[in-house]
Every structure is written in C-alpha cells, then in structure tokens.
Symmetry: C2
Subunit: 500 residues, 2 copies
C-alpha cells in the first residue's frame, strides 16, 4: 500500500517537471523558428531561471529520499516505475557528483562557445574556437572522472547518449561498416554518375511547403498534433508530451530534395515521439529509447522508404502536379537514380546513404583519440582533413566545410555522433524483420503506411524509454544486433542500381 | 542598509516570477499562432502547473513577509520599489481573500466557457452560453464581495483594468461622448458615402505580409525585437520582458485594410511595450500603465496617424508598388475618404472611428445593469439588440453578430470594455499636446515617426507601470482629462471630410 502512495508522488513530481521541460522546449523551438533575431538573451534569462528551478527540484532532499526509498523497494515496483526511478536516480547521482560551481561555469561556457563557434564557422577559422573546444573537452573529461572514475572517459560519454555503448562496441561496429562500405564506394566511383537534374531548379517556398504537408500526410502523421515550422537546422521536438510534436525544415530554393528528405527524416522522429503510449505522457519515459533508436526510425523513413523505388511511384505524380515543368518526361526510374546518386561530399548532413557513415566514423575516431590523450584539440583540424582524405577520398578546402561544420561539440555533445550510424544499421535490421509480415513496398505504392507504422508502433514506439536501448533491441530482434544487415542492404541496393 | 538587501530580494523574486510569465505568454502566443490544432489540452496541462507554481510563489509566507516589511518601511523606498511593493501586495491581498477552491473552479469554468462560447457563436445561439455567462457574472460578483465588500461590484471590476476608474467616471465620460457623437453621426448619415472600392479585391497573403512589414518599419518598430505572426484574433504580447514583443494579424483576402489597420493598431501596442525603460525589465512594472493607456497608443497610431491625410501620401506609392492594379488612378484624397468611410455596422472590431465608442457604450451599459441587479443575464440579448438600435440605428439579425461577437465575457473580462473608449479619448488629448512641439503630419509625410515616438516614449512609454494611470495622465497632460479633445477632433475631421 505504501508504495502506491510513493508511486503517486513520483508521478506528480514528474508531471511538475514535465511542465518546466515543456516551457523550455517551446522556448527553444520558438527561438529556432519564429522569435525575432535579437531575443536570445531575453530567452536565456527565463531559461536560466527555469533550469535552476528544475535542478533544485531534482536535487531536493524530498526528491532524493523518495527515489532512494523506491529504489530500496524495487522488487515491489512495476516495470515502468522501476525504470523511472532508475533513470531519475542516475540523473541525480551525476548532478550530485559534479560540483555545482563547475556545472554552472560549464553551462556558461557552452553559451559562449555556441556564439564563438558561429563566428569561427563564418570566418572559417578554427583558431577562434580552439580555446573553447579545449575547455569543453577538459570539462567533459573532468565530469567523466567525477561520475565514473573507473571508466574510460569516452565510454562514459558514449553511455550518455546510448546507454551501455562502449568504445569496444563502436570499434567493432565501425570496423564492419568500413570493411563493406570502402570497397562498395570504390566500385560505385568507377561507374558513371546518375543525372540528378530533376532535383535542381527554382522552387518557391510555397510549393515546397505543399510538398512537405503532403509528405507528412503520406507518413501518417496526425497534423492535429504534429506541426511544421521552418528553421536553419531542421530538428524535431515535442512540447511537454507526445501530444504536441513539432518538426522543422529548411527550403533550399534550388534543390527541392533537401527539404523533402529532411521532412521525411524529421517526420520519422515525429512518428516515434507521437506514438509513445499515452500512459507515459508527462513522465521521464515519454520519448525515444535513445538517440540511435530514434535515428533508426528517422533514417528508416528517409532512406529505406523515401529513397525506395516504390516511393518514386507516388512521388512522381505529386511532382507532376507541383512542379510540372521539372517532372515532364521523367520516369520513376530516373527519379530513383537521381535521389540515389552516390558521391563523397564535404558535409555530413547532405551526405548520401553510402557515404554517411564514413562522415560519422571520422568524428568518432577524433573524439576517441582526444579523450584517450592520443590527439590534442589543437591537432584536430589536421587530423580531420587527413581522415576525410583517407575515408572519403576528398580534400577539405577550409575549416568551415571541415572541422567547424557541425554544432555538436560547441554544445557539449561529445559522444553523440555514433548514434547516427548505429541508427542506420538498426533500421536495416528492423526492415528485414518487418518484411516477414509487412509488404513494405506495397504499402508505399498505395501511399498508405499504416501497416508499416503499426509494426514500428507495436515493436518500438509505444514503449518510450521503458527499455534501455540494448534491451529494446533484444526484444525486437530476438537475435543479436548484426550490422551486416545494413551493409548487405547497401551492397544489394547499390549493386543493382550501379550494375555490378 | 537593511532595505537595500530586501529590495534586492524583491528584484530577485520578480525576476523569477517573470520567467514563469514568460513561459506562459509564449504558450499562449504559440497556441494562437503556430501550435497544431488539437494541442490545447496538452498546453493547458503545463500551464496549470506553472500557474499553481506562480500562485504558490505569490502567496508564500516569505513573499508576504518581505512585502509587508517593505510596506512598513515605505518611506525609505524609492518610487519604483514603492510601486512594485504596492502592486504585488494588492495582487496578493486579493488572491488571499478569494477561497482557493472557488478560484480554481472559476478558472476551470473559464476554460469550459471559452469552448462553449465558440460553439454558441458558431451556432448563433445565446441559450447555449447563457448558463456559463450567468456563472461568470455570479463569480465576479462574489469575488468583488470578498475583495471589496464596501464597493459597488462594477466599480471593483472597472478598477481591475483601469486603476481607480468608477461608474461615476464612466457615466460622465460616455455622457460627453454621446452628446457629440450621436448628432455627428446623424449629420454624416445624411451625406453620400465615400467610395471604398480601392480597399476591395483579392489580395494574396504574401502581398499583405509585405505591406505589414513595411508598416512595422514605418512605425519605427525594431524588427530585431518585435515579431509578426498570424492568428484569428489579432493581439500583442511580450514574452518575459519588453525585449521580445510579438504582434499578430489576420489577412482578410478581399479587404487589405483589415490587416493594415490591425498591424498599425497592434504596432502601437508593441511600440509602447518595447520602449519601457530597460531598468524595469523582469519586474512587475514592465508593461503598460493600464489597458486604456495602452489603447490610447494603439488607437493613436491606428487612427490619428494611420487614417490621416498625411499617411495616405506615403501609403499610396506603396500600394502602387504592391497592388498596382488597385492603386491605378486613385488619388491620396480618394484613399483618405475610403479609409474614413463612416457607417454604423454590427461588429465592434471592424467599426470606424466615429461609431466605435458607441459599440463600447452598449457593452458598458449592459455590464453596469447586470452588476447593479437591474438586468438579468437572460435578458442580455434583447437589451443588446435594443441598444444597437438606439445608439447605432441598426437591427441585430442574430446572436452571432450581436451579443456573442466578443470573446471578453467568456474569458471573465467584465469591466474591460470602457478602456477602449477611454484610450481613444486619451490619445486625442495627447495629440493636442504633442502638436505643440512636433509636426506630426510632416513626420508622417517623411515616413519617419522618430519625433512622434520620442514624444510618446519620453512622456508615456518609458515609465511602464511606475505610475497609476490617473497619475500618469496628470503628469502628461498637466491639466484635467478632457474628453472633448476627442469629440472636437472627430467633429473637425469628419465635418471637413463630409462637408458640413
């Protein structure tokens, strides 16, 4: 009986915290989409206060006592409550281990680092950013030391984004990818490149927006609960709970495929977010299991659906309606080849399906080297450029299109990148399984993804964060994770497409 | 010395509260502009929690003790701190007097009443809304009894929106207006109506948006700190402080003047909000002195500037650029007459300068009668229709375009309407004064309102809520408030325009 009362208190506490997170998500979303240009400082003022309030709520004596008490009676708790307790305690334990003053000055460092990174990127000058990046790596190392003194600091950081992920896992995983992707890429390079002129032109925002809403409908998103905004860097966020999800996109005037694939990608995230079980709303379990599981969904829709032959059959008629002058005389096969043109390029976010993971590997190797003490922050640009030559065979002309392209490090996101590549691989293995019961291509051709979405909902989405990512994978796959599902998919698809 | 420390605590407390208000303003703004259709419940969940937190902060023992202590040492406080203390105490005293359960059920009533009003308006059926409106009037009367047992309940309610305003003030004020406006209107009615065909057509949103941004620039708004959104019912709100202000508008496809004047109106509110002294940011003094002072600014720009001859001289070239087919062959005089066509109509928000106050008077008389016990809620529609015939000479065909047109009562805003008419009158008297040192028309013709804005900033805007509205008026006018400044303005302007 007692535990019922404590469980209720835990739920109330989470509801309260979710209101603060809701406010902060909305402030971030508004800042990136709608807010006037010079209102960031004003927003930071309110967010600073709400963050401190949330911190106080997390570390309050009664919170810690409640969670400790629940933890002591863990056997009497149901699965959900056990997981909530564990996740909240883990978070609090770490907050407690880092001296508050250090944590505050780290948060302040990030605010400055973000602005400096922007400027450094604009000026294409790593030297400006270097002292900040040095401090960020130093702080991360120190925090790892406080929180997990017996772990390699990079193992600790990987675990922040993907519970349980280690350097050993990544080395093995990336080793497999490399073994397949590098030779695949060199075979592709020897063939003529498909023409992608159909993707190029001059596409007004209003037309691209119509395409975006059509895509959201095709994906099966509920537009009563999922909104679309525009922004510089597309993202997905939920506001307070999975009942209100927002995706964003950016309309590139001369390439309609940029926004198209970003809408499908973010739409995949939004499908996941908005299909978490209603019983998890306003709790810490309302969201994706991990970043890589999240990416498995976004990249599943973006690539496995959106870049499939079947999808071209419904896309082409829509393009004929929206941009008749471009679509005229184009076959679904032309379109399929255009959106699957493989080419090593400089920018990760614009990379194709085959080269994408190589971009991630570069970042992984560099993070690992710095955190192992084998590389200094000062040496990063040179090492970056060397690895781009080695993995992708291209020369990086400047820092802007090299080491400074991503915002992650300036925001303290070190250890995050591997999620993207893992997501690709999980998605391919999910697809293998799904195909046993769902005719994916037939669904796509009908423009009705209900059966596909239902498979994902039943197996993945509904659970939110109830399971750790590794446990969720085990439940879904009922077999070990096998990155070769992904590499075989690439080899088959592009072997057929490029004719080898 | 001691007071310095207490003052600092007061500032910190206000900063903290401003973060919560910031979050809630943004949630409201987002809900009215951007949020997906069915996310209101989710938003209400977070807002309920944050409202309760803010309520708790306001009524906390340490808050009350701090304010009481400051109040006891009021002579040692500077003007600003004195005013903050007084305003916060007034607010808290009222919160304390209303039983919490009654307050909570009243807030819940309003949520339901809003939805029912929407439905009733759509169906044009007052009967649906009547029981809710009855409960709202009952609650307001009860609250007035708790908080100010010795006052007439309507005096108490008027004071909520316009500190110090009484029935006696309003009767005198509206009496003066009526004496002038009724005969003015009947003279106008005897003349031919100016043609306003230039305002009618088919105007794409994108074109109207261009006009809106041009207007914001002409007004002298800083677009780095003031944003524009679209919504069903235009409004202005600041997010956390005057450093981030949002206005909204609605594009009516067949009448570009609807959005144009709403942008100028909301732009006037935004000028006021964003020019409060920086020293008042994140305090309870960051905002307009009262609703009527606020309306004096919005309607100053909308009517005294936006419907002036001088303004037509810069508007016409812009229209020639944006809607050349409509502007062709139109003179500034044609345009001036078109935007100043006087005509009794059913809807307050679309009313012209002369009839506007009559719409307000109808509402004032009805609120007063109900709160005096002279009229029942049940009799309201009949009384409404009778007064529209009496004051405006028109028949109200249905509840939708009659008693149900405004959202105010469903939101509990009883006693608010007189602010609109007072604002008109204040603005006219401000203009008389301003003209002594500023050549308003010359500024408008140059398309540079800097001198006009500076007059308003120096006399009104910078002070925020430091002064009670009556005190601010006294400081600015250095003479008693004289509604005849307003009626003379109307008589001169429309006498000249209609030739009598």
């Amino acid at each position: 009986m007692e535990m019922r009362e404590e469980t209720e208190r835990l739920m109330k506490l989470q509801e309260k915290m979710s209101a603060y997170r809701s406010a902060m998500s909305l402030m971030n979303y508004d800042g990136d989409t709608t807010a006037p240009a010079k209102t960031a400082e004003n927003r930071a003022h309110a967010m600073g206060i709400l963050t401190a309030e949330l911190y106080g709520m997390n570390t309050a004596k009664e919170t810690v006592e409640l969670l400790d008490h629940l933890q002591e009676h863990v056997d009497e708790l149901d699965e959900k409550t056990r997981r909530m307790t564990a996740l909240m305690l883990k978070n609090i334990r770490e907050m407690e281990k880092i001296p508050k003053a250090e944590y505050v000055s780290y948060r302040q460092l990030l605010v400055k680092a973000g602005a400096v990174w922007h400027e450094a990127k604009e000026k294409s000058d790593f030297k400006l950013f270097e002292p900040y990046l040095q401090q960020i790596f130093d702080a991360k190392k120190r925090f790892a030391g406080y929180c997990a003194p017996d772990m390699h600091p990079y193992d600790y950081l990987l675990d922040q984004y993907e519970e349980g992920l280690t350097i050993a896992d990544c080395d093995r995983f990336f080793g497999t990818l490399k073994k397949h992707i590098v030779p695949l890429l060199s075979k592709i390079a020897s063939r003529p490149k498909p023409d992608n002129g159909v993707l190029q032109g001059d596409f007004p925002d209003a037309v691209q927006e119509k395409l975006a809403y059509w895509l959201m409908e095709i994906l099966g998103l509920d537009l009563q609960h999922v909104g679309l905004g525009t922004t510089e860097h597309p993202f997905t966020t939920s506001i307070g709970s999975h009942h209100d999800v927002r995706i964003t996109t950016r309309y590139v005037p001369d390439r309609f495929d940029r926004s198209m694939f970003s809408v499908i990608h973010e739409g995949g995230h939004a499908l996941y977010e908005s299909h978490v079980s209603d019983s998890l709303a306003y709790t810490v379990l309302d969201g994706g299991a991990s970043m890589s599981i999240h990416e498995s969904q976004s990249r599943f829709y973006e690539n496995l659906i959106g870049r499939s032959r079947a999808f071209m059959e419904i896309l082409l008629p829509k393009l004929s309606e929206l941009i008749p002058e471009k679509a005229e005389g184009v076959s679904t096969e032309d379109l399929y080849r255009a959106v699957n043109r493989i080419e090593p390029t400089l920018i990760r976010t614009e990379a194709d399906e085959v080269t994408y993971s190589l971009h991630v590997m570069v970042r992984y190797e560099l993070e690992k080297a710095v955190l192992s003490g084998d590389l200094s922050v000062h040496e990063l640009p040179e090492a970056w450029n060397r690895l781009y030559r080695e993995y992708l065979g291209i020369d990086v002309p400047d820092d802007r299109r090299g080491i400074l392209q991503d915002s992650h490090w300036s925001g303290g996101l070190i250890g995050y990148f591997p999620s993207y590549a893992l997501g690709n691989a999980y998605g391919a293995q999910f697809r293998q399984l799904m195909k046993k019961t769902v005719d994916i291509d037939a669904c796509v051709r009908k423009g009705d993804l209900a059966a596909v979405n239902e498979w994902n909902r039943r197996n993945i989405w509904q659970y939110g964060r109830i399971y750790a990512p590794a446990d969720l994978l085990k439940r879904v796959l009922k077999a070990p994770f096998d990155p070769e599902a992904y590499t075989s998919y690439l080899e088959e698809k592009y072997g057929e497409l490029y004719g080898f």
